[in-house]
């Protein structure tokens, strides 16, 4: 399959390793990855902050960049939720019928990364090796907007060497919330403290998730407190293989 990667501006700028990991995994599974260079941002920040017109421009841009793709994969649960949940409404509210129609045609081919692996490809074992104790933070968008359910967990359970440990109160928000993290920095930090306490209680070395925005927030707190726990995007765990293994063709399924 020819997969168009929407990396998201956030990953592009701050977490390129996540994008490389997505490319690695998809190519290891035998798919071809395409990266339309003109892509920028999904518009989530503008939308959630009340800058609807600005967001609408980015909706059009996304559609132009990706409507010819066979499938689109996004390694971010919140950006995928933005595209899937809010794009159609923004287009409708703008009264742009042609945009609504183009979105209707495009959206069924847009997937979040873990969702693409388990839902579209039907793969739960991608041949990864990651010998660490790992807990999983389900982002709010993964849980509620996308309903990813057990998909990320099943992928993790099939990683060789990985010791999976359940995160208590997994349904609770980490406190990032985009500009909320700055505008309401105190409340955001109070929520983060509890999230960090839950993570530390698991005894995990690594906290993973499908969204680097939650992870930047959680990881920023864990780092500041010198906790000895780090955050790693799910894709990077799945891209990781045993040193010296023939990973390129060696998918275990």
């Amino acid at each position: 399959m020819r997969v168009a990667l929407f990396i998201t501006c956030f990953n592009d700028t701050l977490f390129p390793d996540t994008g490389r990991a997505v490319v690695t995994v998809l190519e290891r599974l035998g798919h071809e990855v395409d990266f339309p260079m003109a892509q920028t941002c999904c518009g989530q920040m503008h939308h959630n902050s009340g800058y609807r017109d600005e967001a609408l421009g980015l909706v059009r841009r996304f559609v132009e960049q990706f409507e010819s793709a066979e499938v689109v994969v996004i390694p971010s649960t919140s950006c995928t939720a933005m595209v899937r949940q809010h794009y159609p409404r923004l287009a409708r509210e703008a009264g742009d019928e042609s945009l609504v129609a183009r979105l209707e045609a495009l959206l069924p081919r847009v997937y979040e990364f873990a969702e693409f692996l388990t839902g579209r490809l039907g793969v739960t074992d991608v041949g990864a090796y990651y010998p660490h104790r790992v807990t999983y933070h389900a982002s709010c968008t993964s849980l509620r907007a996308l309903g990813l359910g057990e998909a990320p967990r099943r992928l993790l359970e099939n990683v060789a060497g990985l010791e999976f440990v359940e995160l208590p109160r997994i349904e609770e928000c980490c406190g990032f919330g985009g500009t909320f993290a700055i505008k309401n920095a105190d409340v955001s930090t109070a929520m983060l403290s509890d999230k960090m306490a839950a993570i530390l209680a698991t005894g995990a070395e690594v906290c993973t998730a499908g969204d680097n925005s939650c992870l930047m927030h959680i990881g920023g707190g864990l780092s500041r407190q010198q906790t000895g726990v780090r955050t790693v995007h799910l894709a990077e765990i799945l891209a990781s293989t045993e040193p010296g293994s023939q990973a390129a063709g060696g998918v275990r399924s």
């Binding site: 390793d17 941002c41 891209a239």
Partner: protein, 496 residues
């Protein structure tokens, strides 16, 4: 509304350790109980859909149903009054109470009377309002403010309540720290004794309403303690102040809401007391019944197709109990009768976005409220819409367009219009961060961004953005050009 913002009030509240423990303990308990009660019904989702559909239908025909209600209430011997706003509601209720030459009125827990600030108006008119709901009574005795829709004194624990009773129940001569413990049944028994004399010698009762049935003219109050039932049986006069959105068309519709409400609010299969009254009945209960129908901004909310669903709220308070923000700030940070997620969308609409602008931002948009709401109100979308209205308002002022957030958003828009600009700024930022980044981390950012680094490190921009890596990879013979590498560099490095 006060001059302070939500972040400022939250900042204060977060340091109130006693409140935080009390609220966390209480919301955790209620949250688990409501989840269990909702979960045990196989048709819970269908009930939510029915509740949502009934409310949507009611709102679409509210004018007709209101007139039907008025007619039925009058036919059953009640009197109906219409109040355009809080001021008019106060004038009507105070006037009606005065007619009966009483210096005291007993009250059933009511959000609506709080909304119109009835109690101060009664006091000013020489009528003492006596709250009979246990939690409301605790708030009133302490000169406190309610902090939760369902449990107004949720921020107090039993030790604090014991102290309050001993200090404030002055006509209870036998009450002292020696005679009263903080055992909940003992505290409740004391409250009962305190209230009993007031129930028996007060002629006028004032209530809100959970529901009013248009086709029968019946009004309903749903409660746990039975003090409402006392107010509905002993006094001669009953005055009910009800928001116009509390209406339901048919008697049969109660079937849906009387299942949804107790399970979502107190986490009970059925609430202990469901009172329904229709007009007046000779020799049975109050002989005079007034229903005051309050608009106070509701018809304006009704006019907005998307935000209209705010009026579907049945005041169960489940959104407060599941909200991670509320759990930490408590209710006072919302500076309103209506706290938590529903307060964050209702208060700005009642008071105007300008006055309550920071409330719409008091959310991470995590969606827990929408998921829990028994009538499926899409609270996150309404929050976003309110944020948009605030932005639009701000833009009408030149100074607003130059506000830091607005400038940042315009810059971001400009940057995202062309990928070359994004790329250029990535490179620029990488140069700029050399002044502040150390070992891949930034621990202090300038300006408003400092809110982030006060408690969190920020990862420094990596040497190469993804698009740069990709571009290099497309060049034959360049580093990283080969595909399908196994143990690639990124997987072993920390990202944060």
């Amino acid at each position: 509304m006060s001059e302070t913002t939500f972040p400022e009030r939250a900042h204060q509240a977060l340091h109130d350790t006693q409140m935080r423990r009390n609220v966390k303990k209480a919301t955790t308990t209620i949250r688990e109980r409501t989840a269990r009660m909702a979960g045990e019904l196989p048709d819970w989702e269908a009930l939510r859909d029915a509740g949502s559909a009934l409310k949507a239908h009611t709102m679409a025909y509210l004018d007709e149903y209101l007139l039907e209600l008025e007619e039925r209430v009058q036919a059953a011997g009640g009197q109906v009054h219409w109040a355009r706003d809080a001021e008019e509601a106060r004038r009507i209720v105070v006037g009606l109470t005065r007619e009966h030459e009483t210096d005291r009125a007993i009250k059933i827990k009511s959000m609506t009377t709080d909304e119109v600030e009835l109690n101060p108006a009664l006091s000013e008119a020489g009528i003492e309002p006596v709250e009979t709901d246990l939690a409301d009574m605790i708030v009133q005795l302490g000169g406190d403010r309610p902090s939760h829709i369902l449990v107004p004194a949720i921020h107090r624990n039993r030790a604090e309540i014991r102290e309050l009773f001993v200090r404030e129940m002055r006509d209870m001569k036998d009450l002292s720290f020696e005679t009263l413990s903080d055992d909940p049944p003992e505290l409740t028994a004391t409250a009962r004794r305190y209230l009993r004399s007031r129930f028996l010698d007060t002629r006028v009762a004032i209530s809100g309403a959970n529901f009013a049935v248009a086709e029968t003219g019946s009004v309903s109050v749903v409660e746990s303690e039975g003090n409402g039932r006392m107010c509905l049986t002993v006094p001669d006069v009953m005055i009910s102040l009800m928001g116009i959105e509390k209406l339901i068309p048919r008697w049969q519709d109660l079937e849906v809401f009387l299942q949804l409400l107790p399970r979502a609010s107190t986490g009970e299969r059925m609430n202990p007391y469901t009172s329904l009254w229709t007009g007046v009945h000779e020799g049975d209960g109050p002989q005079t019944f007034h229903l005051v129908l309050l608009d106070n901004g509701r018809s304006r909310i009704l006019a907005d197709e998307q935000k209209r669903q705010t009026l579907h709220c049945i005041r169960c308070s489940r959104c407060l109990n599941v909200c991670p923000v509320y759990e930490r700030t408590g209710g006072h940070a919302y500076d309103s009768m209506y706290q938590g997620p529903i307060g964050a969308i209702l208060t700005p609409q009642l008071r105007g976005v300008e006055q309550a602008g920071t409330l719409a931002e008091a959310s991470t948009l995590c969606g827990a409220c929408q998921e829990a709401c028994p009538v499926k109100i899409d609270i996150p979308s309404i929050l976003v819409q309110l944020r948009g209205e605030k932005v639009a308002q701000q833009r009408r002022r030149p100074a607003g367009r130059l506000a830091p957030e607005s400038l940042a958003m315009q810059t971001a828009r400009w940057m995202f219009e062309r990928s070359e600009r994004l790329h250029g700024l990535q490179r620029l930022a990488r140069q700029g961060q050399k002044l502040i980044a150390r070992e891949g981390r930034i621990d202090r950012l300038p300006g408003a961004l400092g809110g982030w680094t006060r408690t969190r490190d920020m990862p420094a921009l990596p040497e190469q953005s993804f698009r740069e890596w990709w571009a290099a990879r497309q060049q034959p013979g360049q580093a990283g050009a080969q595909r399908g590498r196994g143990n690639h560099g990124g997987s072993d490095d920390s990202t944060g």
